[in-house]
């Protein structure tokens, strides 16, 4: 079933459209920055953007910071909201179930395909923005002097390319997990309704609600359990030395979301009457 699910996913046009658009936004930003050379001053604009102009290799981090607040969650909401409700609306759900595919297996396959989608999305954004960044801004001033293209960390200390690769890989994994947590929420919503659109909008409402609570002082007690609260914690990975505390805590919260919402999806779907 997992193989079937993955093959179904890569043959969906909307999935490729999501990936393309995710890569297009940072590319557009790079083109604008490269042609105008008007980088936002440090502290304003997206994270890392001010450093990008001097070194293209930091652009993947800037690109991820660009897509994480809204763009990436929207694509996850679209794909995860469609998982079960899309099959239900098309009627293929009943034929999968009488094939027979066990209901738990079906949900696990859906979770795996959402995980593959988010991981590939983050990887594509990273790779495309690295290429675009280097093409638009070069390897940094040091490279022209034969300095090996070191990259400034947020703490000011220069990082070696190998270090950056490691930090970027951890970032990809961390963001993949954050988005998978949202995907699990989407799968749960998708088992509640036969309308993929309703499930997608439900996920977005969830994101908006979390983002609205986040800055409230009154919500301080629950702030660290909000899913969106940890979406930018990976920026700590680009400090020197790496600040692991927030990343570790964030990863645990996100894993919690995956477990709770996937469990809820299973509890609901296991005994659900499939009437479409």
């Amino acid at each position: 079933m997992i193989g079937t699910e993955l093959r179904l996913m890569v043959r969906k046009r909307r999935v490729w459209l999501c990936w393309t658009l995710l890569c297009a936004l940072p590319t557009l930003v790079a083109v604008l920055l490269a042609t105008t050379r008007l980088a936002p001053p440090p502290g304003r604009g997206g994270a890392f953007l001010s450093a990008v102009v001097s070194n293209g290799q930091i652009f993947p981090a800037a690109a991820l910071a660009l897509v994480i607040p809204i763009f990436l969650p929207i694509t996850v909401a679209i794909v995860a909201g469609d998982t079960v409700a899309g099959e239900a609306a098309a009627g293929t759900l009943r034929y999968l179930l009488v094939r027979p595919v066990g209901r738990l297996r079906l949900l696990v396959a859906k979770l795996v395909s959402v995980a593959a989608f988010v991981l590939l999305a983050v990887v594509f954004v990273t790779v495309v923005s690295y290429v675009v960044g280097v093409l638009a801004f070069g390897f940094g001033p040091d490279a022209s002097l034969g300095g090996g293209g070191t990259i400034p960390s947020l703490s000011g200390v220069s990082l070696t390319p190998a270090d950056v690769v490691f930090r970027t890989a951890v970032t990809v994994g961390y963001l993949g997990l954050c988005m998978l947590a949202l995907g699990a929420v989407g799968i749960f919503f998708s088992t509640l309704t036969d309308s993929p659109l309703a499930a997608t909008l439900g996920v977005l409402a969830f994101v908006v609600a979390s983002a609205a609570l986040q800055p409230l002082d009154a919500a301080a007690a629950i702030e660290q359990y909000l899913p969106t609260a940890h979406w930018l914690d990976w920026i700590d990975l680009f400090r020197d030395p790496i600040l692991w505390t927030n990343v570790r805590g964030g990863a645990l919260v996100q894993l919690g979301y995956v477990a709770v919402f996937f469990g809820a999806a299973w509890a609901n779907f296991a005994t659900k009457d499939v009437t479409t």
């Binding site: 079933m1 193989g3 079937t4 093959r7 179904l8 043959r11 969906k12 046009r13 098309a90 009627g91 293929t92 009943r94 034929y95 999968l96 179930l97 009488v98 094939r99 027979p100 595919v101 066990g102 005994t271 009457d273 499939v274 009437t275």
Partner: protein
Amino acid sequence: MIIETTNLTKRFGRVTAVDRVSLQIPRGVRFGLLGPNGSGKTTLVRMLVGLVHATSGSIEVLGEPMPARAAAVLPRVGALVEGPAAWGNLSGRANLRLLDAAGRGRAGRRRIDAALEQVGLGGIDRRPVRAYSLGMRQRLGIAAALLREPALLLLDEPTNGLDPRGIHEMRDLLTSLNEAGTTVVLSSHLLSEVEALCTQVGVMDRGRLALRSDLEALRTPTGRVVVRTPDPAGVVGLLDGQVVERAGDTVVVQGVDPATLNALLVRGGVPVSGLTEERRTLEQVVLELTGSGNDRLERP
């Protein structure tokens, strides 16, 4: 028994869709499940394959309890539930391959090709299912049901969207599969389809099983005889008072058995071109048993 339900009941909220249905279908028959729209046919079929969970009562399919043993039962059941469905962006063959690959016990490429051939889609191309006609989708749905050469075929409205030739082909296909040992259960509101294909029928009405019988046993004589003659006036003259209907060259006579009537007409010198004993049609039986479907709402 290939299907056996006992006091099977399904309630959706306050609505009782299936009400204490105890149905037995023996192996090897062609069974037609009839009833108006909303009488519970589809819900019953969905419960048989484990899509909908019963509120109470029990189900056995192929001798095993459902849905507890679904993993063992369903590979031997081919089902078409409430119309075909497919991934519209893929071709028909790709659809069957993906569905086949989704579960255990794969049928394989050769069997997919054979199933497509069986339903008349052997020459199918790479066009996506989105571009298929309703009849082609229907054929594809039946091919999917046939994929694992099931012992039991459960088909909900199998001739939906097919043209007369397609309906005829499907009837031939189902008859030949049945002769090779497959039990065919189809639900339909098209009485003629069931009458032409099935050996046994069940009639659902407002969630209850109103009747379960051999088709032949239903078609009892009505006690009326239909006479075709070039001289209808002659018949009326001979049998005044017993003629109940007269239309064109057809006269319907009541209260005389066919042999006596024939002798009477011959003695009376009335030419007869046809004389048949009228039997109840399935339609009459069903209309007597069932109320109107739930798609009809009259003012109270």
